[in-house]
């Protein structure tokens, strides 16, 4: 087996036994990137030299016997996490030349663990999209079927992990941007509870919804990554002060006493029959593992997309006001007046999807429309949270599909923003409610495209998610996933 095929847990065992060095593991990943990334197009930049020196450093630390869990593990980072001295573009022309003078807290934490940072991966511009097609530089392709989307906005993260170019990745999830690409690429992806992971150094999109989280090959690796990145951070005012548990402690067999809810609204019209079949099979697997299966209702599910596309765009219009061409980022140097400098800078620096969302958000917040749109959406958001709270009185975890369909062809929905938004219907409610969610590989379509299963839990109940996810993974017994990286 090639080193790049290992999970974090497997690689760590070999690193600890000295049968593998981090340099060998890192070289193996770099060769893999060299071999497949011209097709997968996940990486925007590969920092080979930095990665190898981090690997050598990790090998030294390990020789001293002081290795932390991610020591020497090669990872990729979504290109909206600030990396000191390494360009952070957010998939946008606006930040094409932005070199952050500091590391995001999660990046600092990974470096503190001795992890190897291979490079930055592609994403939808400013994380706005469901396919990574709005990336200004390159569009990642699905390693299971080239020409198909890898999902978004963390499409590069998912594609790089699925294509075995790195062992895991960090992404961000505002409305499904970790779980959806994880599902479409056949890997594990977790959106943690709002406030669990510091967002200091994350380029902001919608601040009441954004969360950073891991994309990994399996559930165990996901718990290992969560252990590394969680925790209170004084630099993020929404960071929650509480002890971080050891998430790997939840990875145990058996679901006796666990109640799994099936929200009936998540199985409605528009759900692909193959996706439905995979999730139904997942439910049976959990029942066999000892879980009690209960039908529950989330009656406002049908309103989530509308609420999300008002709140997320309103917050985005405010967050993205900072791109004014003054202190960093792109500026049109030709114009003479300040007003035209703002306007031309923003018009040339932003792509169509970003402009569209800024316009919707500005409209929703503008005088005369605020009550009808933003305030109304914020009130319905309360009702959505109430629905979840009621459901979690009856069950510990909710099971559902992640995306209504398997991956689609690149370009298929690119001209229809509303159709694209509607594909997020099953993931955005977790962000609105601030609850954690995880996507676990469930199976494949006849066409050979991966299908994920989503689990959602109550606030800060990642432990329940990990327990159920681990049993789901064990019960499904899917073979190790090795995508062909070839076209249709």
């Amino acid at each position: 087996m090639n080193p790049y095929e290992l999970t974090i847990a497997e690689a760590t065992k070999q690193l600890a036994a000295r049968s593998l060095s981090s340099r060998e593991l890192t070289e193996s990943c770099l060769e893999r990137i060299e071999a497949v990334d011209t097709k997968v197009k996940a990486f925007l930049v590969v920092n080979a030299e930095q990665a190898l020196s981090q690997a050598d450093e990790a090998d030294k630390i390990r020789a001293c016997g002081e290795a932390k869990p991610l020591c020497g593990i090669p990872l990729s980072l979504k290109d909206l996490l600030c990396t000191k001295g390494v360009a952070t573009t957010c998939g946008s022309r606006m930040l094409e030349n932005f070199i952050p003078p500091y590391d995001a807290t999660v990046v600092e934490k990974l470096k503190g663990q001795g992890a190897v940072l291979l490079g930055k991966v592609a994403m939808d511009e400013f994380a706005m999209g469901s396919t990574s097609e709005s990336c200004a530089f390159r569009v990642p392709e699905n390693p299971w079927k080239l020409g198909f989307v890898s999902g978004g906005s963390s499409g590069g993260s998912a594609a790089s992990v699925a294509a075995l170019e790195c062992l895991a990745s960090l992404g961000s999830d505002t409305g499904g941007s970790i779980r959806q690409p994880a599902s479409l690429c056949g890997i594990v992806g977790m959106k943690p509870t709002y406030g669990l992971v510091s967002r200091y150094g994350l380029v902001a999109f919608a601040s009441s919804l954004d969360q950073i989280g891991p994309l990994t090959r399996d559930v165990t690796d996901c718990a290992l990554m969560m252990n590394a990145i969680s925790g209170y951070d004084a630099k993020d005012s929404t960071s929650v002060r509480q002890e971080t548990p050891d998430f790997t402690a939840s990875l145990s067999k058996g679901l006796q006493g666990m109640r799994v809810g099936v929200p009936r609204e998540y199985f409605g019209e528009g759900l692909d029959p193959e996706v439905r079949a995979v999730v139904i099979h997942g439910i049976e697997v959990l029942r066999d593992a000892g879980a009690e299966i209960i039908e529950v209702s989330l009656p406002r599910t049908d309103y989530c997309v509308a609420v999300y596309y008002l709140i997320a765009t309103a917050e985005a219009s405010s967050n993205l006001a900072r791109y004014d061409g003054v202190s960093y980022g792109f500026r049109d140097m030709e114009v003479k007046s300040l007003m035209e400098m703002y306007k031309e800078t923003r018009s040339q620096g932003f792509g169509a999807e970003v402009k569209r969302r800024i316009l919707i958000g500005t409209y929703a917040l503008s005088a005369g429309y605020y009550d009808a749109y933003y305030k109304k959406a914020s009130q319905v958001r309360t009702l959505i949270l109430n629905d979840f709270n009621r459901a979690f009185e009856q069950c510990d975890v909710l099971i559902s599909p992640v995306v209504p369909t398997p991956a689609w062809k690149i370009g298929e929905k690119a001209d229809n923003p509303l159709a694209m938004y509607l594909s997020d219907v099953l993931t955005i409610s977790a962000n609105l409610a601030g609850i954690p969610g995880i996507s676990v590989p469930g199976g494949f379509s006849r066409e050979g495209l991966p299908i994920g299963i989503q689990l959602q839990g109550a606030h800060f109940r990642e432990d329940s998610l990990f327990k159920v996810a681990y049993n789901l993974e064990r019960g499904l017994k899917l073979p190790p996933q090795r995508p062909g990286i070839s076209g249709a």
């Binding site: 406030g195 509308a306 006001a321 003054v326 500026r331 140097m333 800024i358 914020s378 009702l383």
Partner: protein, 94 residues
Amino acid sequence: MKITKEEVEKVAHLARLNLSAEELETMTTQLDTILSYVAKLEELDTTGVQAMTHAFSESNAFREDKVTASLAREEALANGPSQNGEAFVVPRII
């Protein structure tokens, strides 16, 4: 029609964006579709419902008012599209 071309133009100005004639056309159509869709929220009665702004009602996160190290001026200016070593330079305002 939920939104007219004139309104999109006004909103674009508020958002400091210039739209080409073609962009204005497309955006007006797309925004109209999206706003017509979100109008479904009107179906729900939200009388007396508290608006939710964040997942938790955390109180303000204050820190001690203490001077700590910050970015050196050179580092802070390094990403500026135009700067003179002391400040960012912008087109004349007054």
